[in-house]
Amino acid sequence: MHIEMKGINKAFTSNQVLKNAGFFLKDGEVHALMGENGAGKSTLMKILTGVYQYDSGTILVDGKEVRYKNPQEAEKAGIVFIYQELNVLFDLTVEENLFMGKEIANKFGVCDRKAMRKKAQEIMDKMGVHIPVGAVMSELSVGQQQMVEICKALMVDAKVLIMDEPTAALTQSETEVLFEVMKSLKAKGVSIVYISHRMEEIFALCDRITILRDGEYIDTRYIKDITMDDVVQMMIGRTIGERFPQRHLTIGGEVLRVENLSHKSLFHGVNFSVHAGEVLGVSGLMGAGRTEIMQAIFGNLPVMEGKIFIDGAEVKIHNTRDAIHAGIGFITEDRKTEGLLLDKSIAQNIELANLDRVSNRGVISNAKRNTLVKQGIEEFRIRCFNADQECGSLSGGNQQKVVIAKWVYKQPKILILDEPTRGVDIGAKKEIYNIINQLAAQGVAIILVSSELPEVLGMSDRIMVVCEGRVTGIVNAAEADQAKIMTLATGGNIA
């Protein structure tokens, strides 16, 4: 199936999101759609699939003009959108999710479980994935849930598959499985639109790339004809310089030491330390226990045994308040459900984390509050209309800057950042890297947990690798490379 979108315009109230945007998808190709957050990638695809209606323009599918009124119509035509936020029912089984709304029934109108199970298994086999069809969704890993979403798309015999940041929550190995599935789909003639911020993946996987900027069509190129720098330049309209900014090292004394930290099942015997001004990268596969170790240090997960020392003295951390009191800050991997009050304003979010700073004897001082919030917005370059804008309406990068701002003003000695650049565009990523470097330069001990190997390698001084709940190695970043880290992350040994 080939698709042509021409001269698409779309405005939300007075905000023109797409200006004369276009897109051309060929038969059986993997086509990357790139642009900064807010460039209009998702909107363009939502217009194609009928989630939004366009104001003007033409959409041709196989040469015929179409205008889908809703996603169901698009699905019938064979165009399926797999959203970034997974659209699954967590309390139901894989099979029930697959057949939601299209159950196979016998002549009495009763669900024919046998037939459904058989068909579900067929599709799993076709994709080459092994997920028990009777398992409850919430028990699966994010990667497996993603696979179920793709299976769902295949059930309706999709000819075009649109994937919005499918690998954002996947581990390296899960990503590889996904790529294999995508390649086999392509071989069967399915066209794939691939929206992602991850340059390495796009260059490894895609045939062509279309770039949008500020709602406008910039260019479509063959991947083999361009470089990553070209893409970045087209995306932001200027060159960005070094991907990972350099910083001057001034590593001080030990700030945090963790001894023999163990959880009843998630991790065992964890030992490490971080120094003032140091960035300790933490790498490992998803589910290895990285996040859980950090949650435990922050008092959000009970531990069985182990000691935590801050500035040489042992501290007892029973809950998050103890951790904050001890000088630890924690930026969670899930900013939407844990990092921010999405329905509250920038000001309210910054204020909540710093209540003692903006109040006198329990009463909020508006003057102090407004000063702090204004300072936060300026210092961290949070792009917004004003401080009262709801965080839910900010782009991913700006949301993350709000989270960072609220923690930085608590003046932590140790700042743990768990996947701080997930779902953040290239420009904002660099800004976040600069902030991390600045904090380190001020003597904050930084722990940077990330699934993106280039990021860990580019930002850290030392890298701790976790595999199946154990620390399998701590290496100097200068001596590390992707292969070494992956070896450790999969339980192998390095000489």
């Binding site: 109230t13 922050f298 959000n300 998050t320 308040r321 904050i324 924690f330 969670t332 459900t337 844990e338 990092g339 921010l340 009050l341 999405l342 329905d343 509250k344 309210q348 204020e351 909540l352 984390a353 209540l355 003692d356 109040s359 329990g362 009463v363 909020i364 609220k406």
Partner: protein, 327 residues
């Protein structure tokens, strides 16, 4: 949507309940001379005080993403405790204080069930609602306790007891216009909670807990304490309302306050507070309480039979809540 209608929409959204209230008052004033008498309007405030006090507590609980079904039973249990203490010869002041403490503790128990017991607020307070009603029955043996004021030995005690429900303050410019003490208590409580919810750290923590508990915990909010506190507040205010009631009618019975939780929830909903927590304003609750009070009072004056009254009230609430969710 153009700029103008957007603005209008925002105004209606913000003050919708007050617009509805104003419309009701104007309509009733036009069709009933009795309704628009200043003395009736002041009496209306006295009638509003029970639901008003309970609704303030309910607002705090609902903002924290909870619900408190036990307020009607707490109202009754605190009231009969006070009555029994008075009959046993306790000084009025002591009986009142003890009853308020009892109410607060009853609320705290609901809070503990929700937090430490990890029960859903609806279930937890359904349990306490049933238990407290039963306890009120046990204490009184199911019978009303009457002639309370006459049983208070000291004159000052009797005065204090009568004051909270029956008392008035004469207004200086018109001696015929007496402002009821319950109305003054209500206004004070509204003012205090306006301040708490808008200007204090505790208020911010209530909103944060209701908006996203995980996120609030991670920045160091003790959400367990916040939840126990809001249920305690709800219990305290329900007890206060109960005391005003028995002072006014000079008797207490275990069936008092039956169904009051629903009126309070209705007032909060009318005021635009989100039932899933984190969003809403005390000022909305003020409007909600007054709408219900005006309806009750106005329909009584117009001699609408009580069966029709319920249906009319239901329609008003439905319209208000629908227009709120359509925005």
């Amino acid at each position: 949507m153009n700029q103008k209608s957007k603005k209008l929409n925002a105004i209606v959204g913000e003050y919708g309940a007050f617009i509805a209230l104003a419309a009701l008052v104007i309509i009733l004033s036009l069709i009933s001379a009795e309704f628009r008498q200043p003395s009736n309007l002041l009496n209306l405030l006295r009638q509003a005080s029970f639901n008003g006090l309970i609704a303030v507590g309910m607002t705090c609980v609902i903002l924290s993403d909870g619900i408190d079904l036990s307020v009607g039973s707490t109202f009754a249990l605190s009231a009969v405790v006070c009555a029994e203490l008075l009959m046993a010869g306790f000084p009025a002041f002591a009986a009142i204080i003890i009853a308020l403490i009892v109410g607060t503790l009853l609320g705290a128990i609901s809070g503990l069930l929700v937090t430490k017991g990890r029960l859903q607020p609806f279930i937890a307070t359904l349990i306490t609602m049933t238990a407290y009603r039963g306890l009120a029955m046990i204490i009184t043996d199911g019978k009303p306790i009457s002639r309370l004021a006459a049983n208070i030995s000291s004159e000052s005690g009797a005065f204090l007891f009568k004051l909270i429900g029956k008392g008035n303050i004469a207004s200086s410019f018109n001696p015929d216009l007496k402002i009821p003490i319950p109305a003054i208590i209500l206004v004070l409580v509204f003012a205090i909670f306006y301040f708490i919810l808008n200007r204090t750290c505790f208020g911010r923590r209530i909103y944060a807990t209701g908006s996203n508990e995980k996120c609030a915990t991670l920045v160091g909010v003790n959400t367990t304490r916040v939840r126990i506190m809001v249920y305690s507040i709800s219990g305290f205010l329900a007890a206060l309302a109960g005391l005003i009631m028995i002072s006014r009618v000079d008797s207490a019975q275990p069936t008092l306050g039956d169904g009051y939780e629903l009126d309070a929830i209705a007032a909060v909903a009318l005021g635009g507070t989100s039932m899933s927590g984190g969003r809403g304003k005390i000022i909305g609750t003020v409007a909600g309480v007054l709408i219900i009070a005006v309806l009750n009072n106005g329909l009584n004056i117009l001699e609408v039979t009580s069966y029709y009254q319920d249906v009319i009230k239901a329609i008003v609430i439905l319209v208000a809540v629908l227009s709120d969710s359509k925005r």
